[in-house]
């Protein structure tokens, strides 16, 4: 029972680690009480945690192929569960999720269900069988199951497409977190984050990534739970937010109902309405309206004396003015949509969409997110690292449990924040903003403007950006600054752990799937690991370079990644395991049709106003996925059944015991 001793040792190590981390936080808390400046607390958290990850990375260095690609296949279920959870939960889950729920109410729950429910599909349909197959990557599986290089190449292309956009989003997240908390520029933050990512993966590949991810999970979940437990205690006297936020929901519903017919609220909504109409007029009159607006600003600028404050504000307006009519269209449309949304009375926070279109989109999005989750290569890869099929199954259950702890809590964050805004912000005088609102309004995460000039805050005058909810909660709950630092460390852990998983997936797709398996199969094991490491550097650098442009499209690309993964990988994997008759022609034509239809609808609906059954861009996979499955089934039935050898292969991965070749280590 060597495994038991190993598990025990790991439990001891991470137990001590958690204890030391708690002492570290308490020490900083005491130091804060004695007057340590917040900036230094920020430094301590960022450099302290990155230092720990680096240490784990160095201890886990390796040049053995099986260690580098699959952590030696000896990650016990619980730990693989934690690593998978950290791998999965990104900066967006950690910081943005609660805010999205705050703004969207019931609609936002599609993400909560989608990003957890996918793990049921993964655990039941895919994970145990991938472990039995026991190679290194998802394209490995596609080639072994369907034969020939072509399935592998399609797999590599889809993996790169999906993982790279996701990686750029994570590096952007690291840049934002570091720059916000220790006051460096975004570019330096990106560079710092890059170093943080590489120390976790460069020397030890999957092995180092796995053990840092476990450490990162512990930090991120502690950081996520503390503020919301505190706020639950403050509001309700019971420190279990997940049970207690029902009261907050009722407060929200009562207050919002009162605001519906409030005269001052209606006044502000009408101002938004007028603004939306004005913008819509300007958008229709493009490009003339763009040129006219620019001329007006320039004329105003030349009429003002140099050095006046008014001149400075016009200069700034001119600097922020859209550079081209195209940019104007993009910006003004976004502003118009916001104004339109604000001009409506707040929708019930707990009721599902009232119209059929809303419900259909809600269900379609949930479905795409679930299936996409079960098809993301960087998550699937983690299930190669467990010692046995049994451990793979139980690790899928653990992973879902660890992920559940965060997603189960996110709605509580959102509800407490919204109830706080409705009770302690709305109706206050502008001159007496609560400290937390003033602070986050200062950096633009909350926008509060006295639109109707009555000196009192109306609900329709408050715009909360998604990131503000988690970031402001420590202050709402009256916690010391050290908790804000903890949140930063948690957000950083979430971003770094996901970035690492993606980085290693991309580098493996190129070094293992493309170079070793297709171009040069005669590489020695040590050269393969060296090439993998070199690629980590290159891919990370390219990722950081793309992230430094801060493209607005990145967020959307990430959402599309789910649809693409759902429409390509998922059917090929599931049918490969569950349908013995599935063959090469079927799988390939399915994947290609899935990719094309999804890509066509993504581009068509996002840029050319295409509309099939009212489905939004973000749920594009709802067409590609069934198309993939139907085409795959039809084509496979019209063509020859897979060879005896392949059928044996399918049998082999279906049953935990018994070997027909696959699974042999090098």
């Amino acid at each position: 029972m060597a495994m038991d001793a190993w598990s025990k040792q790991l439990r001891k190590i991470y137990g001590v680690y958690t204890g030391v981390f708690a002492l570290f936080v308490i020490a900083l808390w005491i130091a804060e009480g004695m007057g340590l400046k917040p900036t230094y607390i920020g430094y301590a958290f960022l450099f302290g945690t990155i230092g720990v990850y680096a240490a784990i990375g160095i201890i886990s260095r390796t040049s053995i192929v099986a260690e580098y690609y699959v952590a030696g296949r000896k990650v016990p279920a619980v730990f693989n569960g934690m690593a998978t959870a950290a791998d999965w939960m990104s900066a967006a889950s950690f910081i943005g999720m609660a805010g999205a729920l705050y703004n969207q109410g019931y609609d936002g729950l599609a993400f909560i269900m989608g990003w957890t429910g996918g793990y049921v599909l993964l655990a039941v349909l895919i994970a145990p069988y991938l472990r039995k197959f026991g190679q290194y990557t998802i394209p490995d599986f596609l080639e072994a199951r369907y034969g020939g290089k072509f399935p592998r190449i399609v797999g590599v292309i889809a993996a790169l497409l999906v993982s790279f956009t996701y990686l750029v989003a994570q590096i952007t997240g690291v840049g934002i977190i570091t720059s916000r908390f220790i006051g460096i520029t975004f570019e330096v933050g990106v560079f710092l984050g890059l170093a943080g990512i590489l120390v976790c993966s460069f020397l030890g590949g999957m092995r180092a990534v796995t053990w840092t991810q476990v450490a990162q999970y512990i930090i991120l979940i502690v950081a996520y739970l503390i503020p919301v437990v505190a706020i639950s205690y403050k509001h309700t006297g019971v420190p279990i937010p997940q049970v207690m936020y029902g009261q907050a929901l009722q407060t929200i519903e009562t207050k919002q109902a009162q605001l519906k017919n409030d005269e001052k609220e209606i006044e502000v909504r009408n101002i938004w309405k007028a603004r939306a109409d004005e913008l819509s007029g300007k958008i229709k009159a493009l490009p003339d309206s763009w040129a006219k607006g620019k001329q007006e600003l320039e004329a105003k600028l030349s009429s003002l004396p140099v050095g006046s404050t008014e001149r400075a504000s016009v200069e700034k307006a001119l600097k922020d003015y859209p550079k081209s009519p195209e940019e104007a269209k993009e910006k003004w449309t976004a502003a118009m949509k916001e104004a339109q949304a604000m001009s409506k009375p707040p929708r019930s926070y707990v009721q599902p969409p009232a119209d059929t279109k809303g419900i259909v989109n809600f269900l379609a999005l949930t479905f795409c997110l679930m299936v996409g989750t079960a098809g993301l290569p960087h998550v699937l890869m983690r299930f190669y690292t467990t010692p046995t099929v049994r451990e793979a199954r139980s690790s899928a259950a653990w992973a879902l449990f660890f992920i559940f702890l965060l997603y189960f809590t996110a709605p509580a964050y959102a509800a407490f924040a919204r109830s706080e805004v409705l009770t302690n912000l709305v109706g206050q005088a502008f001159s007496s903003l609560p400290a937390w609102a003033a602070k986050w309004a200062g950096v633009g995460l909350i926008s509060i403007k006295d639109l109707n000039g009555d000196g009192i805050i109306q609900f329709s005058e408050i715009i909360i950006r998604p990131d503000a909810v988690v970031l402001a909660t420590p202050e709402i709950a009256g916690l010391p600054y050290v908790v804000a630092g903890l949140i930063a460390a948690g957000g950083l852990a979430a971003a770094l752990s996901t970035a690492d998983g993606l980085l290693i997936t991309i580098s493996n797709a190129i070094s293992h799937d493309l170079y070793y398996k297709i171009i040069n199969p005669n590489l020695s094991p040590s050269t393969r690991v060296k090439i993998g490491k070199a690629l980590l550097l290159v891919v990370a650098a390219i990722g950081a370079y793309v992230a430094s442009f801060k493209l607005a499209i990145i967020v959307e690309l990430v959402a599309w990644a789910f649809s693409l993964a759902a429409a390509t990988f998922f059917p090929a994997l599931v049918l490969g395991i569950w349908d013995k008759r599935m063959n090469r022609a079927g799988a390939i034509s399915g994947m290609i049709v899935g990719l094309l239809i999804t890509g066509y609808y993504i581009i068509g609906s996002r840029f050319y106003g295409m509309d099939w059954f009212g489905i939004k861009t973000i749920a594009s996979g709802i067409f590609g996925l069934p198309a993939n499955i139907i085409i795959a089934l039809i084509v496979s039935r019209l063509t020859k059944a897979p060879s005896e050898e392949i059928q044996k292969f399918v049998d082999n991965i279906r049953y935990p015991k018994g070997a027909v070749g696959a699974g042999a280590e090098e």
Binding site: M1, M3, Y106, L109, I112, M113, T116, G117, Y119, V120, L121, A123, V124, L125, P128, Q242, V243, G246, Q247, L249, Q250, V350, Q351, P352, A354, I359, F362, L363, T366, F367, M370, T388, V389, R390, R393, S394, A396, A397, L400, F401, F404, Y407, F408, P411, D651, R654, Y655, P656, K657, G658
Partner: protein, 86 residues
């Protein structure tokens, strides 16, 4: 030696578990979402029940489903003599 018959029986058992689990999975997520408006007329511990299902209830069921599947599969691994050697 494991026979073809045993393998067939094992797989059809697995398929049964898979079907039941995915059925429950679909009911608590899609099913409950479809009638969320109606479920909201019940209030449990201060939570409108429709909201609760999408925010928490379905998640709890997902976790339990994975746990049950893992336990059940270990059971049939043993029963059909297919468990792995350590």
């Amino acid at each position: 030696m494991v026979t073809g018959e045993t393998l067939k029986a094992y797989w059809s058992k697995n398929r049964l578990y898979m079907t039941v689990i995915l059925l429950i999975w679909a009911l608590v997520s899609y099913g409950a979402s479809l009638i969320a408006g109606y479920l909201n007329s019940f209030v449990v511990f201060g939570f409108p029940f429709g909201y609760y299902m999408a925010a928490q209830g379905s998640l709890v069921v997902f976790v339990l489903l994975n746990l049950i599947y893992s336990v059940k599969m270990n059971e049939i691994d043993k029963k059909y003599g297919l468990q792995e050697e350590e």
